[in-house]
């Protein structure tokens, strides 16, 4: 798919605005991890994934699984950007009767699986990729994982299975923002050397700047990089990216934005985007 840097930059900004809007809902949301994943998701949904918003179950679609389901606000924002849902619907986030839960529901168009319990998404991705491979179908599968999520043992069972089954139609993306709720990943349960671990399990592994839209497009749109091997992309990101108030701050994990804080965050986002 084509990549128009200016257009995608504009869309990533809109996605962040929507994340903040959902953070201003009465329930609040996982702001930090949504903002860190915003660029990866924007690039995927605007210039990589072969999907049809008016036909979410199109049999030839690429599959996307948000294993870090707590970044639901970022997913809803890109689903709105891509036309799966009406952008106006984002205003209903978390409220009674809404389709936008704190963690995605299957009944929302564009959501393949309900996720949010960590450590499930990559196994689901392995299953879909295996089905496509066995059926000789061209569909690709992309799974976005959190870095703290990699502490779940089940993730590594799937990491082992991907290369064993030769699933080069599968791409795992790690949102490596370095934080989890109690502190940094390296304080809580260290993950490094992370790329070496994925390589040791047999994945074609790259480490990239997870906020460089052109780089992200280049790497996602050219998978597989090694025939017969699944792709792992460790996206080095910043928690709270784009809003100085939240960047690299433990407290940005879950935020309920007051009207005043919402305005400050939006102002910070605008200032940052003009630089």
């Amino acid at each position: 798919m084509d990549f128009d840097a200016q257009d995608v930059t504009k869309r990533a900004f809109a996605v962040r605005q929507r994340i903040l809007e959902m953070g201003a809902a009465a329930t609040g949301t996982h702001v930090g991890g949504s903002l860190s994943a915003a660029d990866v998701l924007t690039v995927l949904y605007t210039s990589v994934l072969r999907v049809r918003p008016d036909e979410p179950d199109w049999p030839d679609r690429d599959y996307f699984v948000l294993s870090k389901g707590h970044a639901s606000a970022a997913l809803y924002a890109v689903l709105a950007e891509r036309g799966f849902i009406d952008p106006e619907e984002c205003a209903s986030y978390g409220s009674y009767g809404s389709r936008l839960a704190g963690h995605p529901l299957r009944r929302l168009p564009g959501v393949e699986f309900p996720t949010g319990s960590l450590g499930h998404g990559l196994s689901l991705g392995v299953g879909v990729a295996l089905a496509m491979r066995r059926a000789g179908r061209p569909n690709r599968v992309f799974v976005l994982l959190g870095d703290g999520e990699l502490q779940e043992g089940s993730v590594w069972e799937a990491v082992m299975a991907g290369p064993h089954l030769g699933l080069d139609n599968l791409t795992a993306i790690v949102d490596r923002n370095g934080w989890q709720i109690s502190g940094t990943t390296e304080e809580c349960m260290s993950l490094e050397p992370l790329a070496e671990k994925w390589r040791a399990f047999g994945w074609d592994t790259s480490e990239v700047d997870g906020h460089n839209l052109a780089v992200l497009h280049q790497i996602f749109s050219t998978v597989p990089h090694t025939p017969g091997r699944p792709t792992a992309v460790i996206a080095r990101t910043t928690k709270g990216r784009g809003v100085p108030l939240f960047e690299n701050r433990k407290k940005s994990h879950y935020v309920t934005l007051t009207p005043a804080l919402h305005q400050r965050a939006l102002a910070g986002l605008r200032n940052r985007s003009q630089k």
Binding site: G97, H103, L105, T115, G116, G119, E152, I181, S182, M189
Partner: protein, 324 residues
């Protein structure tokens, strides 16, 4: 097995017990750990313990990361080696994800691991069904040696946590997430395994456990009283071992029993009550709880309970029917 615990009334009861039950649990845990160095707080990245506990007692704290199954095994190992671990996670991740480790490593070995969970029932609200735990009590209460406690408010939470000191085997303590109404406005008697009579009544019995269900039971009692129906209210905070004597007496002295819980209708406290009533003193039982199926509705805890039919209205209707 049981241990009586009482509290002396603090200066301001309501102020002392304001806030979510889980905050009170954390406060009491720290107090208990200061007095008993066998106690160790095992964290799975719950958020907050690194401030509330770790700086005070770093040698009695470990964060194993987001790895609940691993945590259950570590908890069993610690207990086997003489420690009293309080392992902490969200209810669904204890009862569902780590079920086998809990069953074999903790329950099977009858080890004194205290599994303290938050987000029980529908208390995760808008987080959605991945974080709801409406089958947790059903799963855990079938495991060997387990004591299962569902406190109704912050006061009971404090007493339940303290009372675990008298339990030699594993304990599952199920808490919610957000602040819930304070049920008890003064000191109470609390013993694990003994139902707490909250209101007298000789026409029908309401058996409740958990924050909102107990709160709704008290509301229903008032409404039924206005209609001339005496509804006994039993707070069944301990689902296992369940208070057989109190249930048999209720079946003997009233026309029937209505149970209410923030859990599936099958297998939970209501199911446990039916098992007892069938065997000891058959009487009609109506169970209020969450129906079958993955609850696919967005809402806060109360909205979801209402949608699931866990309400004072339904209690009043069911209790009235039993009195006809």
């Amino acid at each position: 097995m049981t241990m009586d615990v009482t509290l002396s009334p603090p200066v301001s009861w309501a102020e002392t017990y304001a806030g979510p039950c889980r905050e009170h649990y954390r406060r009491v845990l720290l107090e208990m750990a200061r007095e008993d160095e066998r106690i160790i707080c095992v964290d799975s990245d719950m958020g907050g313990f690194e401030d509330s506990f770790e700086p005070h007692l770093p040698q009695q704290y470990v964060n194993v990361g987001i790895a609940e199954a691993n945590m259950m095994g570590i908890g069993a190992g610690l207990a086997h080696a003489g420690r009293i671990p309080f392992v902490n996670t969200i209810s669904s991740f204890a009862a569902a994800r780590s079920c086998e480790q809990v069953k074999i490593d903790i329950a099977g070995n009858n080890l004194p691991v205290r599994i303290v969970v938050t987000h029980g029932g529908l208390s995760a609200g808008h987080y959605g069904p991945t974080h709801h735990a409406v089958e947790d009590v059903a799963i855990i209460r079938t495991l060997p040696n387990m004591t299962v406690i569902v406190p109704a408010d912050a006061v009971e939470t404090e007493l339940a946590v303290r009372a675990t000191a008298g339990v030699t085997g594993p304990v599952f303590l199920r808490l919610g997430r957000a602040e819930t109404p304070l049920i008890h406005q003064g000191p109470i008697d609390f013993a694990i395994g003994r139902a707490m009579p909250l209101r007298p009544g000789d026409d029908v019995t309401i058996v409740a456990c958990g924050a909102y269900p107990v709160h709704l039971a008290l509301q229903a009692h008032e409404r039924l009283a206005r209609a001339g129906i005496g509804a006994r209210v039993l707070n069944m905070h301990t689902v296992r071992p369940i208070d057989v004597e109190a249930l048999a007496r209720a079946a003997e002295e009233t026309k029937g029993i209505v149970t209410i819980e923030d859990h599936l209708r099958s297998g939970g406290m209501g199911g446990a009550v039916c098992e007892v009533i069938c065997e000891h003193r058959p009487r009609p039982v109506r169970r209020l709880g969450v129906g079958d199926g993955f609850l696919d509705v967005v809402g806060d805890e109360l909205e979801l309970l209402e949608a699931a039919g866990v309400s004072a209205d339904r209690l009043v209707t069911s209790a009235s029917e039993l009195c006809r």
